[in-house]
């Protein structure tokens, strides 16, 4: 059965002859663990694909196959293989050669090499396990407890007793809403002796709007939410509408599958609502680099890598990002599969949309209705309107000269970058200088140019759809300058002098808004288009039509004094002066053109087409074929041109003036593939993850180790979204229930929430994990008011917090501690320091300062000013401290600059949003002590609690101490604790009375007498209570969930 060296005549069998050779000599570097040179030989598809050096097997031609050449050592560039072993024997080489000569038959059915990693528990969908039997059947309150108890019984550790009611209520309140219970809430609970008293507290807290805030913050970690771009400029961005969407979605218990679908592809749902579009901000939370000299395409790609990472960690619980540069080292996810997933995300515009509050939405709907009624009234009172409109249309239909686009290219420096489009237009991207002149060149063959048109074009990749690059999508053109040079004779050139300019729209002259201040003190205005050719630096053409009508394409036509006539073509040199931005190019102060197109015509009498671009386009469609919306759009424009409709037109104009501003928010918009601009992108595998090294094209798809896509699935993001939350997904539900578990108990059932792969530690309670995942997807147990709604997060919370496991006391003995320091076996309740946001929220709530308003723009509490100025920060940042009570809102609303994290939260381990975070580490440091002792708001909290205590806390010091203590810790102080605090109070009073310190300063932070003191209360008392309150604020227990 041997092959002869001279040439094999025997038929080679893969399993018998070839696989052993490969396994022995090749797999250690080209197998499951390593893929040197991106070559993997243990899987058929991979082996035939080849590696960095291309294909390795030419079926039918062994001698020419790379595989044979390298094992022989005859390849001119590649060393002989295997590298660190003896060369193959002549017989082995002959077999390989013969096998390839014979067609390299590698049977599929051989399942050739079984990949044992596929058997890993987390790659197989969870099945609901049987709830185990336990000896102590009295202890469990629900099925969950039986899994915990079973393990404890095996380990022979008894569960802890139930925590006392007050501890339990504080724990529950911190867990469900992130705020401590008030004294009244504690008292009500203590007074409630009904059997379901606890469950009622659970329902009360789950119904609180603060529930969405507390759990929303967790999701926002995973969603790497921040209020700025990151990188060097780290400009503020507007995406808090997404943050509010998360809070609201949790509050209404949007099922988790929908929760994910809307965030990945809400815009693609049929009849997508504003909210569903806003939800796509999830993917837009990636950082964005717009420093000078960047290639925008590079950082678009980086953003996509980040989206992959976020989806992997937050939804799948898998480290798919490890396969960006090479096949996953540990999990069976190939690099190709990574890019197949990537392909789902690679066909979007980086869009933004206007989000309106419910009130604003009602107002807009109301205005729209009124405008509709006025327009209907015009049609009613002018029965011949249709005929007149048609006459008008016939008149204007062909009244435009031929405009020939000039293809321009950037002739300025490289710091500004552009995308160039097929229609001759250009879009600025990346760095946006605030006061500058862009420079373009283009050639025209038109021998006689009578006018030049500059179109500013709306584009979904511009802020609010553009056409400019300001936060509102606006632009101001300070000056439009052109030089013309004979294409055949460079010395023959002219500077074009413009004598007239028209535009389809210019705003009335107005002064620049404060954000565009250049600190020159000069009056700088924008308005009529003539300002673009008036030679003045402080006037510009403005296109701001106000809310609701701003973001549309605009055009201007410029007429030269003498036509530009070069018979052999002309090189046109355009200078677009854009000086109407602000002083700080590291902030959102640009007022630049976004997308634009320049065209020329031989006509000398051209004026800017007054018809809006969309109306002009509709006129191309035969009247009979126009949709009602198109008819309405034409009518809306036409009626504005009819003099006798003046009264109604004025009324409509007045209505538009009331249009709400809304707030812009970052979203995604799928590329439709219908127009060249909107073409679908091809996705390529990037060699070594480098976007400059595209390799083979890949189609959208999903890793084979996971569940399948539906048969008829398209390649849209919506397909990906639905696939992610398919009930067959082996990791989606497990990852989520694990993270929720982790939040309650300090550690997940799987200790690595971001990684369920083969390297993950086995779950502490594998059956419980699966049971929870199944119960989450297909609920069977009714708890409280749960309704057996699949994927209900509140159902999960109910299950956990009503369990006996959760309700255990958290006290620990040294023995138990030694046995299970991290409480993985759950023989006690959880006890650990709360998250940074809640540290501050507890202080605010206990001191009565908390402003409980839910949602809205991010806030600016006090923070050291120097942090936001160079040299602490790269560029000057705006941190305009909010006033009271706005700044006393909950900590998840604090504005998150990625490059300058808010110090208090940063010190308490809050992530800054650089990338998706599904597990916060908890530190315990001296810097944290300095924060709670001395940070501005914590000091204010101490002062406020002192005042509140003296006002509401009773008449005796004992009552007052107990009151303050309960506000902070919910429980009553022990006798010894009370003594300690009373003694402190007395010592401080004495110290103050002795004149050592100024009580005013202590009580108010200022050297002024405290205003409005309650009757009989002295500044000394207030000061002494401030010290006591500061002690309470700094107790370990205060910032701990016990």
């Amino acid at each position: 059965m041997t092959a002869t060296i001279s040439g094999a005549t025997e038929r080679m069998d893969f399993e018998e002859h070839i696989k052993p050779i490969l396994a022995e000599n090749c797999f250690s570097c080209h197998g499951a663990e390593k893929q040197r040179g991106n070559l993997r030989l243990d899987l058929k598809a991979e082996a035939f694909k080849g590696g960095d050096s291309g294909g390795v097997m030419l079926a039918g031609n062994g001698a020419e196959s790379l595989l044979v050449q390298v094992v022989k050592g005859t390849h001119p560039e590649i060393e002989q293989m295997p590298l660190k072993r003896d060369p193959l024997s002549a017989e082995q080489i002959a077999r390989l050669t013969a096998w390839i000569d014979q067609g390299a038959v590698w049977p599929d059915t051989a399942a050739s090499i079984h990949d044992a990693r596929l058997d890993h528990w987390a790659f197989n969908a969870p099945h609901r396990p049987t709830v185990p039997e336990v000896s102590n059947s009295n202890w469990p309150r629900n099925a969950l407890d039986r899994f915990i108890l079973k393990r404890l019984e095996q380990e022979e550790i008894p569960p802890a007793a139930e925590a006392d009611k007050i501890t339990l209520l504080r724990r529950l309140s911190l867990d469900l809403i992130g705020l401590p219970p008030t004294i009244a809430e504690v008292d009500a609970y203590l007074a409630d002796h009904s059997p379901d008293a606890y469950e009622r507290q659970v329902e009360r807290l789950l119904a609180s709007l603060h529930y969405g805030e507390r759990w929303g913050r967790h999701w926002l970690d995973a969603a790497r939410y921040a209020d700025s771009d990151g990188f060097e400029k780290d400009k503020p961005r507007f995406i808090w509408a997404y943050r509010d969407w998360v809070i609201n979605a949790l509050n209404r218990d949007l099922p988790y599958d929908q929760f994910i679908i809307e965030q990945i592809a809400g815009d693609q749902l049929p009849g997508a609502t504003q909210d569903q579009v806003v939800a796509t901000g999830f993917l837009r939370n990636a950082m964005l680099n717009e420093e000078g000299g960047i290639d925008p395409e590079q950082f678009r790609t980086e953003g996509l890598f980040d989206r992959m990472d976020a989806i992997g960690k937050s939804v799948l619980g898998l480290t798919i990002q490890c396969a960006q540069c090479h096949n996953h080292k540990f999990d069976p996810i190939s690099q190709e599969e990574y890019y197949q997933l990537f392909a789902f995300l690679n066909n979007d515009h980086e869009a933004s949309t206007m989000a309106y509050t419910p009130g604003e939405q009602m107002l807009a709907a109301n205005l729209r209705r009124q405008i509709g009624e006025l327009e209907a009234g015009l049609r009613h009172t002018s029965p011949d309107w249709e005929e007149r409109m048609n006459q008008w249309e016939d008149r204007v239909k062909d009244d435009q000269p031929d405009w020939i686009p000039v293809r321009v290219v950037n002739a300025g420096d490289n710091s500004a970058r552009y995308y160039y489009y097929e229609d001759g237009s250009v879009r600025a991207a990346g760095y946006a200088p605030t006061k500058w002149t862009s420079h373009f060149k283009g050639t025209s063959q038109l021998p006689f140019i009578g006018a030049i048109q500059l179109e500013q074009l709306a584009d979904p990749n511009l802020p609010c759809n553009g056409p400019g690059r300001s936060l509102q999508g606006m632009a101001a053109l300070t000056e439009f300058k052109v030089e013309a040079t004979d294409a055949q004779n460079p010395t023959n050139k002219m500077t074009v002098k413009f004598i007239a300019a028209t535009a389809d729209f210019s705003n009335a002259e107005k002064e620049l808004e404060p954000e565009f201040s250049d600190r020159s003190g000069k009056r700088r205005v924008y308005g009529p288009v003539a300002y673009a050719i008036d030679g003045k630096d402080d006037t510009a053409w403005g296109i701001d039509a106000g809310p609701g009508r701003r973001n549309q394409s605009r055009k201007a036509v410029f007429i030269p004094e003498t036509p530009i006539a070069f018979s052999h073509g002309v090189v046109l040199d355009f200078r677009l002066q854009q000086n109407h931005g602000g002083a700080n190019s590291d902030d959102n102060q640009n007022h630049n053109l976004g997308r634009f197109r320049i065209s020329v015509t031989s006509a000398t009498n051209a004026v800017a087409d007054p018809l809006p671009a969309n109306v002009r386009e509709i006129l191309q469609t035969p009247r009979a074929e126009r949709s009602p919306a198109q008819l309405a759009a034409v009518f809306s424009y036409w009626r504005s041109t009819v003099p006798e409709f003046k009264e109604a037109n004025d009324q409509i104009e007045a209505l538009w003036q009331q249009w709400p501003e809304g707030t812009s928010t970052l979203t995604l918009l799928a590329r439709s593939g219908e127009t060249p601009d909107d073409a679908r992108r091809d996705t390529h595998l990037f060699r070594r993850g480098d976007w400059l090294k595209p390799a083979n094209k890949v189609a959208a798809g999903v890793p084979t180790v996971l569940h399948r896509l539906p048969a008829e699935a398209d390649t849209s993001r919506l397909t990906l979204a639905r696939w992610l939350v398919d009930k067959q997904s082996p990791t989606t539900a497990r990852a989520l229930v694990n993270r929720i578990w982790q939040t309650y108990f300090g550690a997940g059932l799987v200790a690595t929430p971001e990684d369920f792969g083969t390297r993950a530690e086995p779950p502490s309670h594998p059956e419980l994990l699966d049971w929870l995942a199944c119960e989450f997807m297909e609920p069977t147990i009714t708890v409280g008011s749960s309704s057996l709604q699949p994927w209900s997060l509140k159902h999960l919370h109910r299950l956990i917090v009503t369990s006996a496991t959760y309700r255990q006391s958290s006290r620990v003995t040294p023995e138990l501690y030694a046995r299970d320091a991290y409480n993985r076996m759950l023989a006690r309740g959880p006890r650990f320091r709360v998250e940074g946001e809640i540290v501050r929220d507890i202080a605010l709530a206990a001191s009565g300062l908390l402003n409980p308003a839910v949602g809205g723009r991010s806030i600016y509490p006090p923070s050291p000013e120097f942090l936001y100025q160079p040299p602490a920060s790269y560029g000057p940042k705006t941190w305009k401290q909010d006033s009271v009570p706005e700044r006393y809102r909950r900590s998840l609303y604090i504005f998150k600059f990625r490059s300058v994290p808010f110090p208090m939260l940063h010190t308490f381990d809050a992530p800054n949003g650089d990338f998706s975070c599904v597990q916060r580490l908890r530190s315990n440091t001296p810097l944290q002590a300095l924060v709670t002792l001395n940070e501005t708001e914590f000091v204010e909290c101490a002062q406020a609690l002192a005042r509140l205590t003296l006002t509401d806390g009773g008449q005796t010091d004992v009552d007052r101490i107990r009151y303050a203590f309960r506000r902070m810790l919910a429980r009553q102080p022990a006798e010894s604790e009370q003594r300690e605090l009373l003694a402190l109070l007395d010592r401080i009073k004495g110290h103050i009375s002795d004149g050592w310190v100024n009580p005013h300063e202590l009580a108010t932070g200022r050297n002024e007498s405290p205003a409005n003191l309650p009757a009989g209360v002295t500044p000394t008392q207030l000061a002494a209570y401030t010290v006591v309150s500061r002690v309470l604020l700094n107790l370990d227990e205060t910032i701990t969930k016990e």
Partner: protein
């Protein structure tokens, strides 16, 4: 001694927990969450409540015990400071050879922009005869203590990614910084100061901000703490108005007693850690202001650095760096973002060197005279170099990743050497290439670590400062 072993001795649990923690565990900077510990212990069952900043032994005895990194952010021009290219003068005004800039991606300029001759004179200095620009007269005095690396290269040519790569070994944000890795590996020798202290003294802050000194996925105790040489050195160090020392002591003592009572009741050792944290915070309050007060330094020392009390200058930061490392701070990093000379090359370089040359040289002299240079590694450099091609008229250079210069001194670095060479334009490295990853590998080696073994498990993977790259540069080692 294993902290946990005390728990087995059968004492009354309430008292033993407390007593044991205070007496045996001493000061700890804080326990950390499960995940972090599991990751550090290689998934073994937890055996001790780790203090992540307690001093630790490296893989092998390192020559350097501490690091001072002078990060010249913005990217200084190697062509004006270290890498003398007389040939470039000849080519001034002509475009670079086409093959040189084939496929070259430039940030701002077009790659065929004309070459620009060096703007300053160079001369040889010291025993080693290293060439230095006339802008660096003070460095010239100590050039025999330096290893100048003219063959640095990097992957990024934009500031934020470039600085983040230099700071963390990756262009991707969110990785631990060099300082964080160092304190992760070595802990801290100071009990009342942070292990990793950061200053920023340039005209701007570093691109990418706090991520340059972040802990990434390491426990956040490893992140750098920004100090200021004016005002409170550390945020929130000062007591609130009206709180004098007596009130503060009384307050802290009361907090401690109440925390101890709670520890007795619930038995959670984390409370003991919290008590320690407060004690350390108080010590920091007492010692840091004095430490940061350089007015007590001798006139000679102040003059050596050019430091003036009360200023936020690079000079003051260098002097403070010395004071901090003397107190056991493990890693001090001074960001001086001022070197982005797209224009105004001549005037700005003069100013920057006026601001930094003397203090940087003074730091070396001062450490040396105190006998600390041998085990203190000082690093000077930016995130990349600058193009031999001009930007703008004739007074600017663009970003250039292919070749730049850094210098190192002390801490086991060979003295008086110049490593590497670039081509006649200073465009590409032609000998002894040193990538940023190689620099990192070498720094870790000096600290006593095999860079391939100093790892932290995250996302299922053992992460390293050097990712999967980096080779030790033996030629730099003494």
């Amino acid at each position: 001694m294993n902290c946990q072993s005390h728990l087995y001795r059968g004492f009354d649990p309430k008292t033993i927990t407390r007593r044991w923690f205070f007496q045996q565990c001493g000061v700890g900077l804080g326990a950390i969450a499960l995940g972090a510990l599991l990751r550090e212990n290689g998934w073994a069952a937890p055996t001790a409540l780790a203090n992540p900043l307690s001093p630790k032994q490296p893989h092998f005895p390192g020559k350097a015990k501490r690091v001072i990194f002078l990060f010249m952010a913005g990217a200084p021009s190697h062509l004006e400071l270290f890498d003398h290219k007389p040939e470039l003068t000849k080519w001034n005004g002509t475009p670079p050879p086409a093959e040189l800039v084939k496929d070259y991606r430039a940030a701002f300029i077009n790659p065929d922009a004309a070459l620009l001759g060096p703007k300053f004179k160079f001369a040889q200095h010291g025993q080693c005869g290293a060439e230095l620009s006339e802008l660096l007269p003070h460095l010239a005095e100590i050039v025999d203590d330096l290893a100048i690396v003219k063959s640095m290269h990097t992957d990024a040519f934009n500031h934020a990614p470039g600085q983040i790569l230099m700071s963390t070994g990756s262009q991707q944000f969110g990785r631990p910084s060099l300082g964080a890795w160092t304190t992760y590996g070595l802990g801290n020798e100071s009990q009342d100061l942070p292990a990793f202290v950061v200053f920023s003294t340039g005209s701007k802050g570093p691109s990418g901000g706090a991520s340059n000194w972040g802990a990434g996925f390491l426990p956040s105790v490893h992140q750098g703490v920004m100090f200021r040489s004016v005002g409170d050195p550390v945020l929130y160090l000062s007591n609130p108005k009206g709180v004098d020392q007596k009130i503060q002591r009384d307050t802290l003592a009361t907090i401690k007693r109440l925390n101890e009572k709670r520890l007795d009741v619930v038995g959670d050792p984390e409370i003991a850690t919290r008590i320690n944290s407060f004690e350390l915070a108080h010590r920091m309050q007492l010692t840091a202001p004095e430490l940061m007060d350089i007015s007590k330094e001798s006139k000679a020392t102040l003059e050596l650095y050019g430091a003036e009390p009360g200023k936020g200058t690079f000079a003051n930061a260098c002097l403070l760096a010395r004071r901090l490392v003397e107190k056991g701070v493990r890693f001090v990093e001074i960001f001086h973002e001022a070197w982005d000379q797209h224009g105004n090359l001549v005037a700005d370089l003069k100013k920057n060197c006026r601001d930094t040359d003397q203090p940087a040289a003074a730091l070396i002299k001062d450490l040396k005279q105190r006998g600390m240079l041998d085990d203190t590694l000082v690093i000077w450099g930016g995130e990349f170099g600058r193009t031999p091609m001009v930007q703008g008229g004739d007074d600017g250079r663009d970003h250039h990743p292919n070749c730049f210069t850094m210098w190192l001194a002390g801490g086991g670095i060979k003295r008086g050497v110049t490593l590497g060479e670039s081509d006649e334009f200073g465009f590409n490295v032609t000998r002894d290439k040193v990538h940023v990853h190689d620099l990192h590998a070498t720094i870790l080696h000096l600290l006593g670590f095999d860079h391939t073994k100093l790892t932290y498990r995250f996302q299922g993977r053992d992460f390293r400062l050097t990712d999967v790259f980096g080779e030790l540069v033996p030629k730099l080692l003494a």
